[in-house]
Structure formats: structure tokens, C-alpha cells
């Protein structure tokens, strides 16, 4: 217990002291995971809408692949992204290995299936006849997708939360492609692992409290928006 209290006290002290390195790590974490979540929304929401509404050959196989990819181990994603970005790899010429961009790429691959899966599930929870009713009302293709998104917006917010939660908490991919380079690619999760390895449990605990606070703050803000209005249920 003493260790936990010391960790908590150290965390508060670190935050209040304005330690620039701690803030640098926290901001990089938010920047990298926020950007990865945004990109995964751009890719995952249209993919989820398409898979939920359209019927086509191999759809089931594709849905199965998305559902499987939702549980993709970040370390495995990190390994594959590292192979591609490695100096002698197919994308080695881009020089992205051990950069924040490499972490964003890996995190996009982790979050996109999560966002796609949640989007698909939220659209499939709508009455299956509703899309036909929207078409029957005379909606153009753009109006159709806008109204479908509006109807399942609460589920889409859950997709945002799940995607952000998946990437801000992962460590394997960030470590594999970012390398935990001080002042460059060190994020909160990789910093925690480093401090644990050094036996600095109090610093590791302090960093973990900061990570949890960040994750909670973002998720809480989204939850407030999500719960602001009740949806049509009958």
C-alpha cells in the first residue's frame, strides 16, 4: 500500500511541478493517439456503414475478418509495421521507423477494425427497414448516409471511445515501431514500461495515473455528449 500512496503522491508532485518531460510525454501521447483515432474514424466509419448496409459477395468473410482484427494483438501489429518500415523493408526508404508517424500508422491499424466493428454494430441495431424508409423519403445518396449516421450517432461515439481507448492504452506497437526514444517517441505507456524495468515503481505509478486521467477525461467528454439525448426506441 505504501508503494501505491508514494506513487500517487509522486504523480501529483510531478504534475504540479510542471516537469517539462512529463508534459512532453503526455502531449505526445495525446497527439499520436488522437491523430490515430481521427484517421481510423475516416477509414473505419465508411467501412462499417458499407458493411452494415450493403449486401455483396464475400461480405460475411469480410465481416468475420473485421471482427477478428478487433482483437489484433498490438505487439503483432507493431512487428508487421516494423518489418515494413525497417530500413531494408518495402517502405524503408520513407525513413519512418522510430518516429511518431510510425506509431500513428501502427495505432491506425489497431483502431480501424475496432471503429469499423463498432460502426457496423451500431448501424445493424437500427431497424433494418429504416434505410429503406430513408430512401423512400427521397434521400439522395449523400442525404441517405448523413441520416443513417445521424440515427446511429450514439453508437458511433462508442466507436470513437473504443478506438481511442484501444490506442492510448497499447504499448507493444508503440515500443516496436517507436523505440521509446527520449524526447522523440516516448509515450506514456512505453515510459511506464521503462520505469518498471528500472524498478522506479513510484514514477511508473505516477505516469499510470496521468495516463488514466487523460483516458478518463477524453472518454468522459464523449460520454457526456453521448448521453445528452435519448434515442428513439419504439
Amino acid at each position: 500500500m505504501d508503494l501505491i500512496w508514494r506513487g500517487l503522491a509522486r504523480g501529483v508532485k510531478l504534475l504540479l511541478s510542471g516537469d517539462p518531460e512529463i508534459y512532453e510525454i503526455a502531449f505526445l501521447t495525446l497527439r499520436v493517439s488522437g491523430l490515430a483515432t481521427l484517421v481510423s474514424l475516416v477509414l473505419g466509419v465508411p467501412a462499417g456503414l458499407f458493411l452494415a448496409v450493403r449486401k455483396f459477395r464475400f461480405r460475411r468473410a469480410l465481416v468475420g475478418a473485421v471482427n477478428t482484427a478487433m482483437g489484433l494483438p498490438p505487439t503483432v501489429v507493431g512487428l508487421w509495421v516494423a518489418i515494413f518500415l525497417w530500413r531494408s523493408g518495402p517502405l524503408g526508404a520513407l525513413g519512418l521507423m522510430y518516429t511518431p508517424t510510425a506509431i500513428v500508422i501502427a495505432q491506425v491499424l489497431i483502431a480501424t477494425p475496432v471503429v469499423t466493428g463498432f460502426t457496423m454494430a451500431s448501424v445493424q441495431q437500427l431497424d433494418p427497414k429504416l434505410p429503406r424508409q430513408i430512401l423512400a423519403l427521397g434521400a439522395s445518396p449523400l442525404q441517405f448516409w448523413w441520416l443513417v449516421i445521424r440515427e446511429c450517432r450514439f453508437g458511433l461515439l462508442a466507436a470513437v471511445m473504443a478506438g481511442f481507448g484501444a490506442v492510448i492504452s497499447e504499448v507493444g506497437a508503440s515500443m516496436a515501431v517507436g523505440g521509446n526514444v527520449r524526447h522523440h517517441t516516448r509515450v506514456l505507456t512505453t515510459a511506464i514500461v521503462l520505469e518498471v524495468n528500472k524498478g522506479n515503481f513510484d514514477v511508473a505509478l505516477a505516469l499510470s495515473f496521468i495516463l488514466m486521467t487523460l483516458a478518463y477525461a477524453v472518454t468522459f467528454a464523449l460520454t457526456v455528449v453521448q448521453q445528452r439525448k435519448r434515442r428513439y426506441v419504439t
Partner: protein, 250 residues
């Protein structure tokens, strides 16, 4: 003194124009032919009831005529123009569809009723038109009410108001009263009958209920196993035991 031309009289005189027509329609699901209709036409002022047992293809026929599904084979014409993927949105905007369930969108009664007008970019007082149809369906005072708080009967009234406010050239109704309890159904049917007579709207009604056929229809199609087996007036259909059996009504 000569009477003003009533669409229903024109139908009787046989000079009404075809609004929607289909030829050589064939719909296949999972390798099985579920609808085969060589020819069908709905003329201005008609209320065509489509009856038949479950799985006869009634809703499939309605979806094809309402341009919500394209058949595997055959062509559908709206006022003589063939419906294609290029013009389908414009043609849908000249029709309305009401399903068995109200299928309202999240929001208020008013937002739902004026939605179709907004999708069409109508600038000419969509709100006033919506309020007027809310009144005609007996929902005055509920304009600002969230639709999830309405009863089943009220929600279906909103769905009907949302369809009528668009002033459709043809109205498609897929068992719109079947999910309501007996009292709500009777009340709505009474109001609906009055409105359909006042407006003279052309309609295609899919139903299982012969009371609705007798009250509303000018012509009846009996569908069985995806084919039109019989056609006639409500009286001729109701008097023929064979047709009645086919329709699953007797």
C-alpha cells in the same frame, strides 16, 4: 350542370393515365423466383389493393413499384419514363411509402413530418405544410413532442402525415394499419379513408384485411406464389370463394 372531373370517375370511364407500370417483372431471391408479373399498371385516382397469403410476394411487388428494389428482369415506368439508377431519386421524390412500422427518425413529430420536404429542398413553407398535415391527422399540439414518447397509433399517424405532406403522385402503403391495436386501427382507418377521398390520391395498398379493401380500394389484385392470380373489384373478389381462399381471407 357538368361535374368537375373526379379521378375516380376517370378510372371508371377508362381514360385515366397510367402513373406507374411494369412489364415482364421477375424477382429472384436465393435462386428462387419470388415474383413474376408480366404486366401491371396503376392509373391516376385508383386505389389498388394487393392481397394474398403470406409469402405471396406482395411487399416485393410494392418495393419494385415504389422503386426501392430493381427487379432482376423487367422494366418499371413512371408516367411513361423508364425508372433507372440515374433517375430513381427524382422519381422516388414524386412518391411516398408508408410501411407496417412507423419507422420514424430520432426527433420531434414536426421534424419527422417535414423531413421529406427538407430532403427535396422545398423552400415554400415546409413548416406550415407539415403543421397542416399534423392537424389533419389529429396530432395538433404534439408538434414538438419527441417521437419516442408517442403511442403506436400516434406514431403511425406521423408516418402517414409525413407521406401526405409530400403531395405524392402515388402513395404506397405496406400493411400500414396491421401493427395497431383494434381501437387505434379503427380510428386511423376512419380518418385515413376521409383523407384519401378528400385528396383523391392514387395509392397501392398491401393488406391482409378485407375491411381495408372494402373501405379503400377501387381495384384488387390477388397475388399467390409471386403471380397475379386474379383481379377485380372489391365486390367481385369478396364474392368469389376461390379468390377469397387464395387471398387467405376466408
Amino acid at each position: 350542370m357538368a361535374r368537375a372531373a373526379n379521378p375516380r370517375d376517370q378510372v371508371a370511364a377508362g381514360d385515366a393515365r397510367e402513373i406507374i407500370a411494369g412489364s415482364d417483372i421477375r424477382v429472384v431471391r436465393q435462386g428462387k423466383e419470388i415474383l413474376v408479373v408480366p404486366n401491371i399498371a396503376v392509373r391516376e385516382g385508383e386505389v389498388v389493393a394487393v392481397i394474398g397469403p403470406n409469402g405471396a410476394g406482395k411487399s416485393t411487388l410494392l418495393a419494385v413499384l415504389a422503386c426501392l428494389d430493381f427487379p432482376e428482369r423487367g422494366r418499371v415506368f413512371f408516367r411513361g419514363t423508364e425508372v433507372t439508377k440515374r433517375n430513381v431519386v427524382e422519381i422516388r421524390r414524386r412518391m411516398s411509402v408508408v410501411f407496417q412500422e412507423p419507422l420514424l427518425l430520432d426527433g420531434t413529430v414536426l421534424e419527422n413530418v417535414e423531413l421529406g420536404l427538407r430532403l427535396r429542398g422545398v423552400r415554400d413553407g415546409p413548416r406550415a405544410r407539415a403543421v397542416e398535415w399534423i392537424r389533419r391527422f389529429g396530432l395538433t399540439g404534439k408538434e414538438g413532442q419527441a417521437v419516442h414518447t408517442l403511442s403506436g397509433g400516434e406514431a403511425q399517424r406521423v408516418a402517414l402525415a409525413r407521406a401526405f405532406v409530400l403531395n405524392p403522385e402515388v402513395l404506397f402503403l405496406d400493411e400500414p394499419f396491421s401493427s395497431l391495436d383494434s381501437i387505434a386501427r379503427q380510428e386511423l382507418l376512419r380518418d385515413f379513408r376521409r383523407i384519401i377521398r378528400d385528396t383523391g390520391v392514387t395509392a397501392v395498398l398491401v393488406t391482409h384485411d378485407f375491411l381495408e379493401v372494402r373501405l379503400l380500394a377501387t381495384r384488387v389484385l390477388v397475388l399467390s406464389r409471386g403471380r397475379i392470380e386474379a383481379e377485380g373489384t372489391p365486390e367481385s373478389i369478396s364474392n368469389d370463394p376461390l379468390w377469397g381462399r387464395l387471398a387467405g381471407l376466408h
